[in-house]
Symmetry: C2
Subunit: 412 residues, 2 copies
Amino acid sequence: MAPTAIHNQQDVDLTAAAIQRKEAQPTKAAASNGSAVAPLDASKLTYNLTKSPRHVPSEAEANAGNETICTDHMVTAVWSASAGWSTPELKPYGPLALMPTASCLHYATECFEGLKAFRGYDGRLRIFRPDRNAARMRMSAARISLPVFEPAELVKLMTALLAVDGPRWLPRDRPGSFLYLRPTLIGTQSQLGVQSPKEAMLYIIVSFMPRMDSPPGGMRLHTSPEDMVRAWVGGFGYAKVGANYGPSLMATQDARARGFHQILWLYGPDGECTEAGASNFFVVWKRRDGKKELITAPLDDKLILDGVTRRSCLDLIREKLAGEIEVTERKYTIDELLEADSEGRLLESFAAGTAYFVCPISQIHHRGRDVSIPMGPEGQPGEVTGKVKGWLGDIMYGRTQHEWGVVIPEKE
Amino acid sequence: MAPTAIHNQQDVDLTAAAIQRKEAQPTKAAASNGSAVAPLDASKLTYNLTKSPRHVPSEAEANAGNETICTDHMVTAVWSASAGWSTPELKPYGPLALMPTASCLHYATECFEGLKAFRGYDGRLRIFRPDRNAARMRMSAARISLPVFEPAELVKLMTALLAVDGPRWLPRDRPGSFLYLRPTLIGTQSQLGVQSPKEAMLYIIVSFMPRMDSPPGGMRLHTSPEDMVRAWVGGFGYAKVGANYGPSLMATQDARARGFHQILWLYGPDGECTEAGASNFFVVWKRRDGKKELITAPLDDKLILDGVTRRSCLDLIREKLAGEIEVTERKYTIDELLEADSEGRLLESFAAGTAYFVCPISQIHHRGRDVSIPMGPEGQPGEVTGKVKGWLGDIMYGRTQHEWGVVIPEKE
């Protein structure tokens, strides 16, 4: 028998309703059997430090191979539907043991975040707006049917890990360097069958990552092929779930084989510009009314990631270039971009995200046509791109004191 | 610099072009450095048998818990871009060690297949059309940027595993029983960054699985909420990749909490009927011209899985009920279904797939309206559903000798 109470709202609008319901879960939620389940609690973190600290490579050494080099430690916490979150543990970095039937290996029950930790020119270690990444990770977890948590607890766990590994792996004599934080949440229940996992594992690792913000000559984009769409209305393009990435690799690999760096993902019959690779995409152009404008895709269709760097760029440009440049979040198409090119109105373009930071774009290839986009002199970013990159970098590396740059108290 | 040779075909139609190119790879392909890379070769399989065979539970015991029970052994083969496929190994079932940076844990570089092994009433062990699953797995692998292989080699590896574990885990005194085969392919390269993995692992496991083809009173479906779309044109709904499953769990969990078994996934502004849960969806109705028709969604938009059970149902009904019922693969909408209900023309409905086999559907809930669908007397499947289920079951369990039922030669 079907239940008599029909939640008509959920019939139409489940994503929002279900995420809100999940996010509204109290930190001390009751399990279905009535017993209390434990929330994620960073204050309980246990420390199991390595007895054999590894060699800390130079940045060049670390990024030379086909394997990501991580620091000495990682943080893990396991979750079960019946007990909630276990005590989180800081322990030596190493392999995970997963049963071949683990949910994440079959059904992509997985989500992650990416943040950088910066060694400032003032000697201090910072992360950038971690509260935003933690909140987004909770949203992603809800979307992919994984357990939620209080975002502040995730921030505390990241902070604790960096406090331990920061001093040695990102030492004071490497100002201007960064490491990369990757909080990851995976469904671990060892049961085949398409269902929400009843067991999961959160882990946080810290790794080296190459600098990708200054490809020689700028970033070159290839528009997505007509038969390949990254995300769609009613999908999950706005969530940082694994399912957004694997399916995009084929197009990216093809573009790279043809000399481009990333795909400019178009959407819909009109070819709306959405994301550049796994970064947000921005264009600076002169409008037909003569006004200078920074344009980027809007968030309201839930097609694109609500990037922390994206939002920070928009905020800073709105604040610091008010009156000089209009900042617009709206749908715009590849044809508008081609027209602006034909009419000589294209001024700059850049991609923004944690991995690529703020990366100038010099070329877009679309259906046999190449659009060249101006950059600054001698391969430098254009004016707006360079300014926003500078402002953000100054916050990240402590040349500007700003609430977005959160200082990590380090253990020495 | 962008390359001068622009492959205009790939600009528009990459999926087909790239999959064809990948599928056309010779079994002895040359790596980019010119050295030969090894193909997947089942004839090299090595055997490392368990020294402590586990207790074989009854079907009821095996399916009682929250963990899938697998047989004593599994087959694994690892792949690298530089060396190709390693020697496959049959070895004791157990956990996989994956680095926290493994591609599949972040980017959903994973695909799988599902098949059943049947203990026949004639005492023989069979699998059903394994060539089709193996070919589909190769297509899925190409779509998710994982290595390809000769499908026949995968069939040989599945056969070898069943030859070892079949006699004890699916014994002759359990005719009419089945086990479930899950070939899985995951990206294992330990490198963060959105790129095609250069290392992967294929594994095959055999497990128990509950019988799901006869829920009391029939299967009840809830249509998908308006803000949730399973697959889209230009996406990957036709491939058996993890990315199709995790994002669907939220809607399924919500439907289950409200007393339904699965989601009937609608597509597009008109609400085309596509899949029921992770199974193909079929309706038997009387058309307005009085003709009896079996209708199901077409494959040409690449929205739905090209199900082996789906295809087998269509083939058998076309062959055995020619003249009695027309078989149609075309787009049809939820409104057509509601109309047929209002006009008393709905005759039967069923879901078909490996897990649910051929499962009669008794109810569809759509936006506050409940559609009841006739079944046979005493909770039995309707006439067409029952017939096709019987024909297929007879092939699977050896009551009918048919080329689709492939006998596994067992080691005793």
